[in-house]
């Protein structure tokens, strides 16, 4: 992790590279595989069952899941019939449109105006990248000149508190933490502190938990209720942090955390390198929620608001000559 530590010399060059290029570079592997496969598909002589089956394999292999893949193929087939498309090379454009149309509803950037402090609570399974995301989101808002406060609500995992403190130091923001405290109590204090200090944004970390651990799901629902007590109307945003490496269980996670917490948005991490992006299509199809941020790299700058068109372009664009 944290490429900016290892490759400090490259830090500046990294900063100046446009986000779109970095997105494209980060997705290059999934793109190479997906667009490489697609290029082969679209080079076929005609549109037939064999072509559709190959396309199906490419989409399934990108973690799109069975339902979203079936939907994309049906829509594609309908368009082919309606517009009497016979040239496979035209399918690329059609697929890009369909995919963009499918995930465009997820593109709803987070508005933090209107509440002060604006309280953001993060939840997710173990190892999905909550604490790291908080560090990067804090950086994002700091770079917009907003004041940020972090609440170390992960009182369970060893050293989670220290991990968040280090992120606090890096971003120059206060971290509210207590040893051996109840997570709800820590977050309650943090909200109080944020109000007293006139902070713009509070980011509340929570311990990782699997949705099957019912008592932990109850615990996190309590954290949310306690926030509402500390600041009526809060939390203003409840984010589920998803690891893009996760397969179709991502859908189960979205459903379970939504049921427990009434999610208002998603953060998808680790989309670089290994990740396939297809899981976004699966989520858009089965349980669409606003995708607030995506993480495409290990640098502190590599977590950004999601843009559907950029994403599909970066994912499907043929490798540049």
């Amino acid at each position: 992790m944290f490429g900016f530590l290892k490759k400090s010399g490259e830090g500046d060059a990294n900063e100046s590279r446009p986000w779109k290029d970095r997105l494209r570079a980060a997705l290059s592997r999934s793109r190479d595989r997906l667009s490489g496969q697609l290029a082969a598909v679209f080079r076929r002589a005609r549109i037939d069952d064999a072509l559709l089956e190959e396309l199906e394999s490419a989409l399934l292999g990108a973690d799109c899941g069975v339902a979203a893949t079936a939907w994309l193929l049906e829509e594609l087939d309908a368009r082919v019939r309606r517009e009497a498309i016979t040239d496979p090379s035209r399918l690329h454009g059609v697929l890009a449109e369909l995919l963009t149309g499918l995930i465009a509803p997820l593109e709803r950037p987070l508005e933090t105006e209107g509440h002060k402090p604006f309280i953001i609570m993060l939840a997710g399974v173990n190892g999905s990248g909550k604490t790291t995301s908080i560090g990067k989101i804090a950086h994002y808002y700091r770079s917009q000149g907003k004041s940020v406060l972090l609440a170390a609500g992960d009182t369970f995992r060893a050293a989670a508190r220290s991990q968040l403190m280090i992120w606090g130091e890096r971003n120059g923001v206060t971290v509210i933490a207590q040893e051996g405290a109840d997570p709800a109590a820590v977050v309650f204090d943090a909200v109080g502190a944020a109000r007293a200090r006139g902070i713009d944004i509070v980011l509340a970390d929570t311990a990782g938990r699997l949705p099957t651990q019912l008592h932990l799901m109850e615990e996190i629902a309590k954290v949310k209720r306690v926030i509402a007590k500390a600041a009526p109307g809060g939390p203003h945003e409840v984010l589920l942090v998803l690891d893009a490496n996760t397969g179709q269980n991502a859908l189960a996670q979205v459903a379970a955390f939504d049921a427990a917490l009434a999610l208002t948005g998603l953060v998808v991490t680790k989309l670089d390198g290994t990740a396939r992006g297809g899981v976004l299509a699966a989520i858009a199809r089965s349980h669409p929620l606003p995708l607030r941020f995506i993480g495409v790299g290990e640098g502190i700058e590599d977590l950004r608001p999601f843009c559907a068109a950029d994403f599909v372009e970066a994912l499907l664009a043929p490798p540049r000559a």
Binding site: R29, V66, V125, G127, A158, A159, Q248, G273, R276
Partner: protein, 451 residues
């Protein structure tokens, strides 16, 4: 949660049951269902393709075609092939070397390496009485080293200190020297999570491997991982001499298709399965059970083990006697059963371990089974006197009113509980009259053959 491989294969059996015979023509449709089910369980596509071919051959080869119950026969074949693919035995750790035996951990970010190090350390200490040293070479993630120090202490293992400014290979050789000069049996080396396409980081862990010459190099895989599991596993397998795989977060509701993918690509044994965040949550990996779990035949053995761990043996024997005789099952026993179930990780976890049909039946059995409801029931029973618990027929209007007030519920809820209790008592009586056998006979048509 139930629209997984379990439910799908139950449906496969149903579709097939309508047909008199499974033939080369119609097996394609059945296999397509299996394919979809495996994909939904996150088994990687190339692995699914190979697997389906194996099943097709095995199915056409012999028992399935022409079988009177082709659905069962096919599921049987699928189960056998699944178990075979995941390895037919569980491979223990190999520590037979001149001490210290070095174990190197590798995996993606967030796979669960550090937690697994502590679980392994605890297992080696408590079961094999080994003297264990742990060390972290994760100089990147903030507080990763501190995390290992804390969990190693919880596991009762020693910890070799390292710092974020040091080079991982220097830390490793320092720890190795220390382990040698202090006569440790085992040195477990934690590493930073890394992407398999991050060339410098893969080079770094390859160097760690050269410095340490580990006897075990364990690849830690998140059971929830998707299609990319094949590529990750392939890359780590090429960069490192992997000796085994540990599957983590298996207590979630992911079907664990990644297990198949990784095993298929690397050919390395699946050695352990991580469940839960407590340090005793590391089990030997059982391919048969995993195949059963994936196929919805249920991890009955796992359930039995779970029960043995958390159930008071004497109480269990007494309870068994009550079931057998159908006598003396009272509200105290009812409450005891409820809290036992909660101890076993809640109902959702238990239902997952049951075969699909049992699981669905149990779910239909009603709202009484939800965990919050269980706690209310406990509350109501707690508000009764011991005499009332033993003889529920005593409960008339005024006693019920008192209990309702004491438990903070309405009288209707007390009545509902008493009704449920009566139902359970009836079932108990059926059990005792050989109803169990009758039930099993009824089930046999639905379940695949058990081997």
């Amino acid at each position: 949660m139930l629209d997984n491989l379990t439910a799908r294969l139950a449906r496969v059996v149903k579709t097939l049951r309508g047909q008199a015979r499974l033939t080369e023509d119609n097996i394609g449709q059945a296999l397509r269902e299996v394919r979809v089910a495996l994909l939904e369980a996150d088994v990687a596509l190339p692995v699914v393709r190979d697997f389906i071919e194996e099943v097709r051959k095995a199915a056409l080869g012999q028992e399935v075609v022409g079988s009177l119950t082709p659905g069962q026969a096919l599921v049987g074949v699928v189960h056998r092939e699944l178990a075979a693919l995941m390895g037919t035995h569980n491979a223990a750790l190999d520590l037979a070397t001149q001490p210290p035996a070095v174990i190197l951990m590798a995996g993606l970010q967030g796979a669960g390496k550090t937690t697994t190090v502590a679980k392994l350390a605890r297992m080696l200490r408590s079961r094999q009485k080994k003297k264990v040293l742990t060390v972290s070479t994760d100089v990147y993630r903030p507080a990763a080293i501190e995390q290992l120090r804390t969990v190693a202490a919880q596991a009762g293992a020693d910890f070799f200190p390292s710092a974020a400014g040091e080079r991982p290979s220097d830390i490793a050789s320092g720890a190795l020297q220390y382990a040698k000069s202090h006569y440790y049996d085992v040195l477990i080396v934690d590493t930073a999570g890394r992407l398999h396409i991050d060339q410098p980081m893969m080079e770094e862990i390859a160097e760690l491997s050269r410095v340490l010459s580990p006897i075990e190099t364990l690849f830690v895989v998140d059971a929830m991982q998707g299609q990319d599991a094949v590529n990750t596993a392939r890359a780590f397998n090429e960069a490192l001499p992997l000796t085994g795989i540990i599957l983590t977060k298996l207590d979630g509701d992911a079907r664990g298709g990644a297990a198949l993918s990784v095993r298929h690509v690397t050919g390395k044994p699946l050695k352990f399965a991580g469940t839960g965040e407590k340090l005793d949550g590391l089990e030997e990996f059982h391919p048969e059970r995993m195949a059963s779990r994936i196929l919805g035949m249920g991890d009955i053995l796992g359930l039995v083990e779970e029960a043995q761990k958390s159930v008071d043996q004497d109480k269990a024997r007494e309870f068994a006697r009550k079931i057998k005789t159908g006598k003396g099952f009272d509200l105290s026993d009812f409450r005891e059963q409820m809290s036992q179930m909660r101890k076993m990780g809640g109902l959702a976890a238990m239902l997952d371990k049951l075969p699909a049909q049992f699981g669905q039946m149990a779910q239909q059995a009603g709202g009484a089974l939800e965990d919050t409801a269980v706690r209310r029931i406990e509350g109501i029973i707690d508000a009764m006197t011991p005499l009332e618990r033993a003889r529920p027929e005593l409960l008339k209007a005024s006693r019920k009113r008192r209990i309702a007030t004491g438990a903070g519920v309405s009288v209707q809820e007390v009545n509902r509980l008493l009704n449920q209790f009566e139902q359970v008592q009836k079932v108990m009586k059926q059990f005792s009259r050989g109803g169990m056998q009758k039930m099993m006979r009824g089930m046999r048509g639905m379940l695949p053959r058990m081997h």
